[in-house]
């Protein structure tokens, strides 16, 4: 069978093997599916980002003057739903995980390539439902769908939004299932559990959460939809139902969902820090165990979102205590990344800059998480901008930094082209500065008492200065995010051809051509080395950098 590439005489890769829309939409190649996801995810990132900018612009002045109150409520609701369910949760696993996991473990594909494609279609169907929700007037439940507001009191598109979340949840479950089976069943000979890159361990832990947690939020959301459609009364207080039960079921997933977002990021950072320090990861086993520990203990802490919601005093004590348990493995990770750099040979390529940013911002995000776990403080700062700042430090400061770092690190492998290093460093700097300017003032705002989801704060003009700083930061952040988008696209056409291993990195993905061929490996690899064997890789003095 002559392939498209052979006719033109190029080396055959997964990109040029076949051309045409059909060859993409019906592909079962995990690398092509990863790129399909990349398109969807980038689209939703900018949709959600656009909503965020409008929110920030509205808050520039205390009065509600840019948009109407209802519109504002829809903006933050859809910002949350789009970002959480259509960007943060799928981004790293479905793009980088999809692309890299089979290669990293020496497999030709995921265990269920067709289910992988099905996941993407479900994601797109969920995404289209979300777009329909937005275009047909939006939804203003808050991303949390709290009852009875969502069930009894709103007449916006709650059901289609719920359906969008439900369908995308299915996609997430199938991705997790695929990863677990792949990691268990498809490892190449010699690729033992102790030799897996931490990126793979991170996705394994993430997949466990996806598989165990997502169904619970799915049923909670379905019950909300059933209450609206058929007037079932499971959370309805006027029938004696308890709205807090919805919150329990919602947070049983949605707290661990934070770890779905951050664990893959931790995996990326481990890869990058090792590569650019030319070192093995410090404390490999502790790092792998910490990932699993976070995934498991992360399931025991959900009600810390409900300390003022009216739960029992004693339940609050238990959940506060358990929340501190999850702090320990997170601390271990930060200390180990830092120690990995000790006596290394550190270079400051763009991915490493993002990794530095991740470590710093994740530290702040994690430490402020300890404030929220602390019962006495949480009462004051929950549902204020303190919480908003905290989770943006984890999700945007942590996860998005890691995602961008990973995109830069593996872009040469994915596209076969180098991105412009100078622009990359500039963008990393802009993102870091813009991020801190946007979100650090919000910690102070929160402690001063500014509640979240407020459209109008004309009663409290003292909040304005910090809001202005935050909005200013958001514009810098927006530029920082647009830049990579532009130069990645630019590099696909004009970028310097990437060598197979531009960073001299360890790992199976760097031993195959850039971009890889459709089946990744000519022959099944046999692994005889530990992960991050940088001491065995001869260091290239000339690191190729495209300008």
């Amino acid at each position: 069978m002559a392939t498209a590439a052979l006719e033109t005489g190029e080396r055959e890769t997964y990109l040029n093997r076949e051309y045409g829309v059909k060859s993409w939409l019906l592909t079962v190649d995990h690398k092509r599916i990863a790129l399909l996801y990349l398109m969807g995810i980038t689209f939703f990132f900018f949709v959600g980002g656009f909503f965020a900018l409008l929110i920030r612009l509205e808050l520039l002045t205390p009065a509600g003057d840019l948009v109407q109150a209802d519109t504002y409520n829809k903006l933050f609701t859809m910002h949350g739903q789009v970002m959480v369910f259509f960007f943060l949760i799928p981004a790293v696993p479905a793009v980088l995980g999809n692309f890299l996991i089979p290669i990293m473990i020496g497999a030709k594909d995921l265990a269920f390539p067709r289910i992988n494609l099905l996941s993407w279609y479900l994601y797109i169907i969920g995404g289209l439902l979300m777009v329909y929700t937005i275009l047909s007037g939006g939804v203003d439940t808050g991303w949390t769908f709290y009852t009875p507001l969502s069930t009894e009191f709103l007449n916006t598109n709650v059901v289609s939004a719920a359906l969008a979340v439900f369908v995308s949840g299915f996609s997430s479950i199938l991705t997790g299932l695929n990863f677990i089976v792949t990691i268990h069943r498809m490892r190449a000979p010699g690729m033992t559990w102790n030799r897996l890159p931490l990126f793979v361990w991170a996705h394994y832990a993430t997949s466990i959460i996806q598989v165990l947690g997502t169904p619970v939020v799915a049923i909670a959301i379905v019950l909300v939809a059933l209450e609206r459609l058929f007037h079932l009364g499971i959370f309805n207080p006027s029938l004696g139902g308890d709205p807090l039960l919805f919150q329990h079921l919602f947070w049983f997933y949605s707290h661990p969902a934070v770890y779905i977002m951050i664990l893959p990021g931790m995996g990326i950072v481990s890869e990058i820090v090792c590569c650019f320090s030319r070192k093995r990861i410090f404390g490999y086993k502790a790092m792998a165990l910490a990932l699993l520990g976070i995934a498991v203990v992360g399931f025991l802490v959900w009600a810390h979102h409900m300390f003022v919601a009216g739960i029992s005093l004693y339940a609050a004590l238990i959940f506060s205590l358990l929340t501190y348990f999850v702090g320990v493995p997170s601390a271990i990770k930060v200390f180990n990344w830092t120690s990995t750099m000790y006596k290394g040979s550190i270079r400051y390529q763009t991915p490493m800059l993002y990794a530095f940013g991740f470590i710093g911002l994740f530290t702040i995000g994690g430490l402020t998480g300890l404030f929220l776990a602390c019962l006495g403080i949480d009462v004051h700062v929950t549902d204020t901008y303190f919480v908003v700042a905290h989770f943006h430090y984890i999700m945007v400061g942590g996860m998005v930094m890691a995602y961008l770092g990973g995109m830069h690190f593996w872009w040469p492998k994915i596209s076969g082209k180098m991105y412009p290093e100078g622009w990359g460093r500039l963008a990393a700097l802009l993102v870091f500065v813009g991020f801190n300017l946007t979100f650090f003032p919000q910690f102070i705002l929160g402690y001063m008492g500014m509640p979240r989801r407020y459209w109008d704060y004309s009663h409290s003009p003292e909040f304005q200065i910090l809001n202005v700083l935050s909005t200013a930061g958001a514009t810098v952040l927006a530029v920082g995010y647009l830049l990579p988008m532009i130069y990645f696209v630019w590099s696909m056409r004009y970028g310097k051809a990437a060598p197979d291993n531009p960073w001299n990195a360890a790992g199976l993905e760097w031993m195959i051509p850039s971009p890889p061929s459709t089946f990744n490996f000519e022959e099944e690899p046999v692994v005889t080395w530990e992960a991050y064997n940088y001491d065995e890789i001869k260091e290239n003095e000339e690191v190729p950098v495209a300008h």
Partner: protein
């Protein structure tokens, strides 16, 4: 510029001092930890930057270090937990003789009823130096009673009561926010808490010619015909309500419950839900027939039948308003 940009909300309750002390402690520890991590990262990044001819040293890791930096943070975290729990306990447990104010939240306003009968909307007047307990319920969705200057926040739920309390320590006007997103005008569901010197408060109190809440409740109690069965002296068809508040009640199915506000509320709205031992479920339901405010008045009346009347905000001051 910095005068208009405070980093701290006013500190106007006893709890605010406790919370701020804990907050400062957390900030100090976190700042120490972040400075430690950031300087180490920065130092390593510079000290071990790539130089020609120099190679990284292979290091596997260290169990001793892993254990150290697990155990030390854990111990610090336990201090956070214990201190936070202590503050939370005092936040959640109102003192015995707190003055009580009934609160009904609805989209998008706050309604307050003092024991003396004064009613307010979006404004709450309280005297300096008294423990004040808010007994709160919602008519529609979940709201949250948040006064940053007091460092208290408590969600207000439909269908049940939740409680918050504070002890104001500084006169002034403070923000009251709804902190749980509740629909279109969520950000308009704001008000003020006005903490007054006791004598100003008295003057304010004297201004309204209303009757105490429990008296309103008593009138309603007679008007609705409750008194025909729930008699004061003799046993009627319904159990006597004298002295039941906050006491255990033996139920027909053998369980024992405490007759708190939630129980009294449920017994009025869904009388058959918890039948008192020895009685028949003959009471009609009042669900949908009385408002939350009327319900509060009835509860205030029932509570007033239990020994010393529920303390009012004005009580304990020079010329306290007369209690029935």
């Amino acid at each position: 510029m910095f005068q208009s940009m405070p980093l701290w909300p006013a500190r106007a309750s006893t709890l605010a001092n406790d919370v701020d002390a804990l907050y400062i402690f957390l900030i100090a520890v976190s700042a120490l930890m972040s400075v430690l991590i950031f300087t180490t990262v920065a130092f390593f990044a510079v000290r071990y930057r790539h130089r020609k001819g120099q190679h990284a040293e292979p290091i596997e890791g260290s169990h001793a270090l892993e254990i150290t930096w697990s155990v030390i943070p854990f111990c610090v975290f336990m201090v956070f937990f214990a201190w936070g729990a202590k503050v939370y306990f005092s936040e959640r447990k109102p003192p015995q003789d707190s003055a009580e104010i009934y609160t009904v939240a609805k989209q998008w306003m706050w309604k307050f009823e003092h024991m003396e009968g004064q009613r307010e909307i979006n404004e709450l007047h309280v005297p300096l130096g008294r423990d004040v307990k808010m007994i709160m319920t919602s008519q529609d969705v979940i709201h949250s009673f948040y006064v940053p200057a007091f460092r208290i926040k408590q969600d207000v739920l439909p269908g049940r009561y939740t409680v918050a309390w504070f002890h104001p320590t500084r006169a002034g006007t403070y923000h009251l926010f709804c902190a749980e997103y509740c629909g279109t005008s969520h950000s308009g569901m704001v008000g003020s808490v006005i903490v007054m010197e006791p004598k100003d408060y008295e003057a304010w109190m004297g201004g309204g010619g209303s009757q105490p809440l429990s008296v309103t409740g008593e009138l309603l109690f007679n008007q609705l015909g409750c008194a025909t069965c729930h008699r004061k002296e003799t046993q009627g068809r319904g159990p006597s309500l004298i002295g039941i508040y906050n006491r255990p009640v033996l139920l027909e199915d053998g369980r024992t419950v405490i007759a708190d506000e939630d129980y009294i509320r449920e017994s009025i709205l869904q009388p058959a839900a918890k039948i008192v031992s020895g009685f028949k479920p003959v009471m009609p339901t009042f669900q949908g027939q009385i408002s939350d405010e009327q319900l509060n008045a009835l509860i205030a009346y029932v509570k007033s039948l239990s020994g010393p009347a529920s303390p009012s905000v004005g009580k304990g001051m020079a010329a306290a308003t007369a209690q029935p």
